[in-house]
Amino acid sequence: MPIAAESLRLGPWRAGVNYSLPAEEIGPEGLYDMGNCTVGQAGEVKKRKGYAKYNASAMNSGATVTALGQLVLAGTEKVFAIAGNKFFDVTGGTATDRTGSVTITAGNDNVWNWVLAGDTLVAVNGVDTDGITWAGGSNNAGTLDDDSRFTKPTWIAFWENRLWLGNENSNSDRVWRSDAGDITTWGATNYHQFGYEVHGLSPFGNALAVHTEQGIHTLTPTGNSTIPFQQQQQTQQGTIAGRSIVNIPGQRQLFVREDGIYQWAGGTQVEKMSFALDDRYWDDVNTARLAYSFALYYPNKEEVWFFLPHGAGQSTMDSVVVYSTRLDCWFGPYDNFTRDSAALIDDLPHAGDFDGYIMSHETGNNDDGDLIAGYFETGNIAPVGDSVECRWLYARTLFDNQGDYDVAVQQKAAGIVANVETLTMEHTGSTASFALLDSTFVLDTSTLQPELSTLTGDTDLFGYDPRTMLRFSNFVDDETFTIRRTSLMYKPIGRTRHRRTGLE
């Protein structure tokens, strides 16, 4: 006999997570809370991938990795890293010391900013007197010739065939430019003064964006040899963390400020993008250390990863929140690690830790052998309004057929005792008989089998309350899940008077 029930569908969760609203104000497409989960392009929520060591042996006796990157030098793709006081060629995962005679001062906060300037890697950290150069091959790193115009530059850009360096030791508000086509020639007056401490440089469209906390300034070419660049303040807000500036498709620039993450599209205004992170997430960000936050654009998934210090007194970046440019939503955080630098290597996010390793993220289903604690919580929705009591019957969940992995499904509501049920992420009992067709299918050899990529499972719901919500979680090593949506079956009871708040 069929069950006389109404259905409330939660998901796909294309709106991502919203930490600024109570669960009761979040709709079926939104998430109230999550950790170590990703929102996919169809709005499905899946446990994030793990990370593994890129370099098998720790660099420089386990020193902090303050810079890393991948770029083509002398026609060869190279991976480099700076760990402690040494510069390494880490191509292929084997670290070779290429420090040579350059001076690198170790320190967790002595992080580097780098660019490919033509055919040369140039990096600066605002601490060491001169920038570092590297031409790849078997060369050692060298010292940038800046004609002794300045020392200890912090920010770097390569634009209009010139190298640009900002916030040097004597003038924090100054940005220097090299001669065109020559990164070693610096005119005595070839600089721009902005009046405020420069916090970052980033080419943007036909301009170089110079960030100060008080605004974004642009330098644009004039075509005039005497005054080759025009300086103009565009906005009244700029970043406080130059490594967090990320340019994304659609001619947009994202960056971190003390109260959140902003977007600049080239006009006279900036727009706060991270309202969804306010309150329950951003309130716990250690803003005193935000200047050391950094970000990374992950093109394959059209995601921007922001590495932030989350927690009272948290000095290192231990939390990643992700902005999906495809879905225009937020998800995360990812945690269970601390990072000091990040870059895209082999199209995947990589990040430097504090123990001499580059970690390859988006790899495997564990965090270098540790479990990933993945969970997410839906909105707390009253399908027929706050005044109508519902009896919650069961939930039918659509998930990907991924293996014998148990996902805990917890029901939560004010008037309902939290209850945990279990869903197994495969066809119960006989995975093999439902194996998917794939590229290994061979005519006259392979068995033709049904293509089951998604499955459904039912879990019990309990209690009486106008609203309810679900929490999905899996904290087991080498296990994952992909939940596409869930339908909560309920029976509307009607309007009933509660004797008290909560359980009765």
Partner: protein, 232 residues
Amino acid sequence: MTNIEVMQAALRRVGLNTSASTFKDGARSYLNMVGKDIQNREKWNWMFKASTFSTSNGTQTYSLASDAATPLSFRNTTENHVIIIMSTQDLDAADPDHSISGDPRWAVIDGVDSSGYVQVSLYPKPDSTDTIAYRYYRLVPDFVEANDNSSLNGYYSPIIQPALVYGIAALYKQEKGDDEGAMADQREMERVIAVASRQNANVQGNRTYRMRRSDDRASGQFSYYPQEGSLS
């Protein structure tokens, strides 16, 4: 089944968490309420019990067992004779100062003691130690949390126990406003009680017999012959 099994089965039907004390407390209250309803539907065979007490020289009044609701009969097993139930008025008329002692032949249902237990007075007042056996219709006490893991078999026949599940569920659903669901469970409860009632009627024990027809040739039949004729 144990109390908790009955309560949890009912909570599952209602759709409530079966381990939360709030809901178990509610289910236990309803178990006690439904139990009283069922106990008093009819004279259930499994509600009859027997016990004994001992008399002592010079003591006239005795308390019965704590679960004795309705005393039915008494007998002196030491002296091997029955004790007839009489009224308090007859006792007072026969022995106004309650001073006569001897081998008690009558028993008076004499209210309840300070604990609420039914008490009886014997007449004449016993002058020796005898064992008085008695039968009674019992009362099932209200269950508390400490009884959760006790078996119900000592209180309710297994055949009636499902009615407790449905009865609890019906009352709980009413509380939650689910009248439709409550009626469904109420129907189930009545169905189980009806089955148990038929079974109870077939027990050849403490049942009430209808007077027999005169032509069934059984001894002691009731005979009634309408006389033919006319009044003149």
